[in-house]
């Protein structure tokens, strides 16, 4: 009992003003920040790939395969932050066997599987099948085994079969774009539909999540592309890079406008929650919202990218700038997720008080775990790039 009271006393010391008892501890921790972040990267990377495939932006060709593999690697890990956040991770599969149509969260397993298996897996499979058949004959050992298994032992690489693959791949990408919107719109939907929380509850939420997802996915693929050409000691395709940067600029502008619209709407409507949110934004969220997300993650990249549309310095300098901006944008979007997920839990629904968020490095919900789930996708990506190098594929025109 002594411990219990001691605990209560300590807990109360991290609270300002009045909060309801169940608001003292944040239930959605850093791992829940990571989950929309990672799914966002998936959706964004996929949409970049679809630009090449459906919207025929041929100049983006060098990044098509990289974007798909990136999306796939991150998708494999997307559920892991959620699973490690669960009190009983060993029960995670139950979401699949007892779904309920009235709960958006209970549908997640199917949204996820659809996107992973029907969109990403199939698109990669049809895209790589011919190459896997060829590679299976050229290699030995583990690689050969993997190619055999992955291509399901098929051997038909006649032009007719390949043309069919290409056609089906195209159809899947067409289905994939709305699916990517669904996947990430869905994540925003979950937050947006929590009526009791004025920081989350806005119909714009899915749209904002979607555009920030595109921003982060494009920035990630851009960085992966830069790093990859560096590692492979290849000359980078500057036209391609400039085009990615151009798209990044456009989408970043839309994202900024949408988020601005959301905030302006909030200020104009000034509901009863406004005072509390105002204090939150200028208090506990000041650095993460204005400095990291707003200034460094949005304004600086927009201004720089905007300038680069008119004034083009030497390629080396541009590449360096793109690298830095990619990093900044990725950080900015991370803090956007942070501000939504953590920010939404810092104020009391009584609007009279605030709590604070503390987490440790170790432990199943600590920073350590979050860092692990950010590193694992890159390991998977390295493996996939080794197994299925896009640059060794036979050129297909995707027409």
């Amino acid at each position: 009992m002594e411990d219990h009271l001691q605990n209560l006393y300590e807990v109360l010391s991290k609270v300002d003003g009045y909060v309801y008892p169940n608001e003292i501890e944040l239930n959605w921790s850093i791992l829940i920040v990571l989950y929309p972040y990672i799914t966002g990267l998936v959706a964004g990377a996929f949409i970049l790939a679809s630009l090449e495939r459906i919207f025929k932006v041929k100049i983006l060709k060098p990044t098509y395969g990289i974007a798909l593999l990136t999306a796939f690697s991150f998708m494999l890990v997307a559920t892991m932050p959620l699973v490690s956040h669960l009190g009983k991770p060993q029960r995670a599969y139950e979401i699949m066997i007892t779904p309920h149509s009235s709960s958006a969260m209970a549908i997640f397993g199917f949204v996820y599987l659809w996107y992973l298996m029907v969109v990403l897996f199939l698109e990669l499979w049809f895209d790589y099948r011919r190459d896997m058949v060829i590679w299976a004959n050229e290699t030995t050992g583990f690689k050969r085994f993997m190619y055999k298994v992955l291509s399901l032992g098929t051997t038909d690489i006649s032009p007719k079969a390949v043309a069919l693959d290409d056609k089906i791949g195209y159809i899947i990408t067409v289905i994939g774009v709305p699916s990517a919107f669904l996947l990430h719109g869905y994540v925003g939907f979950i937050f947006g539909s929590i009526k009791a929380n004025p920081w989350w509850s806005t119909v714009l939420m899915p749209v904002i999540f979607l555009f920030s997802a595109m921003v982060s996915g494009i920035a990630l693929v851009m960085l992966v592309y830069i790093v990859l050409t560096k590692i492979r000691k290849q000359l980078i395709d500057m036209d391609c890079l400039d085009t990615i940067a151009k798209y990044l600029f456009y989408i970043l502008l839309i994202d900024f406008a949408l988020e601005g619209l959301d905030q302006i709407h909030r200020i104009y409507v000034a509901e009863e929650s406004f005072e509390a949110l105002h204090k939150l934004v200028f208090g506990k969220l000041f650095y993460s919202l204005f400095i990291f997300q707003g200034l460094l993650g949005t304004i600086v990249p927009i201004l720089t990218l905007g300038t680069l549309q008119f004034y083009k310095p030497r390629p080396v300098i541009r590449k360096t700038i793109y690298t830095i901006l990619g990093g900044l944008v990725l950080m900015g979007i991370f803090f956007m997720r942070w501000n939504v997920v953590i920010g939404g839990q810092l104020f009391s629904k009584s609007f009279y008080g605030y709590t604070s968020f503390k987490t440790s490095l170790i432990g199943i919900e600590g920073y350590g775990m979050a860092i692990i789930w950010l590193i694992v996708p890159f390991l998977i990506l390295s493996f996939l790039l080794w197994l299925l190098p896009p640059w060794k594929k036979i050129e297909t025109s995707h027409d």
Binding site: E2, L5, I97, T98, L152
Partner: protein, 169 residues
């Protein structure tokens, strides 16, 4: 249909069949009997040990304290709010009348300053706002650090219960 598509569809069909079978196998036994949840969960919860005795159960043996308390400001507080869960105590303490209670039956006696602070520390948010007045008397609040911390004569640190009777403050 080309051979590779057949194989692919085969793989998907196997995958889906496997899912459907596993779904039946893994579904908890009592799921859905009473609604969209595991009916056994209710039963399992009834098996959990209880910790709290009911508010009136203390009166049986501590009548004096109860009647003291009923006359004071703490009348509305239940004993277990301060002394903690006491079911075990209320069930077994009788055997130790006028003897030393064994450790497992001894209850916490919240006599330190911080114990009273849990409810009485100044807290601007714990006020009652009524139609046109701000009423700060929902719970009387004192500044724990400043409200008689030491005895002016002997300079000894004072606990709240040196002056206030916790059962009849």
């Amino acid at each position: 249909m080309p051979q590779h598509l057949k194989r692919l569809i085969g793989v998907f069909v196997i995958f889906i069949l496997f899912f459907l079978v596993m779904r039946q196998v893994l579904r908890p036994k009592s799921f859905g009997e009473l609604g969209h949840f595991r009916a056994d969960a209710i039963y399992e919860n009834t098996l959990r040990p209880m910790h709290y005795a009911v508010a009136d159960s203390c009166t049986k043996c501590h009548k004096d304290i109860r009647s003291d308390k009923d006359l004071g400001f703490h009348a509305k507080l239940k004993c277990e709010v301060c002394h903690g869960p006491a079911l075990k105590h209320a069930t077994f303490a009788n055997k130790f009348k006028n003897k030393q209670l064994p450790d497992s039956l001894v209850l916490y006696k919240p006599g330190e300053r911080k114990d009273c602070a849990v409810c009485h520390q100044r807290n601007a948010a714990r006020i009652k706002i009524t139609f046109d007045t701000i009423n700060t008397t929902m719970i009387h609040q004192v500044d724990i650090m400043k409200h008689h911390p030491v005895d002016p004569k002997t300079n000894a640190a004072l606990k709240c219960i040196d002056c206030h009777n916790p059962h009849q403050p």
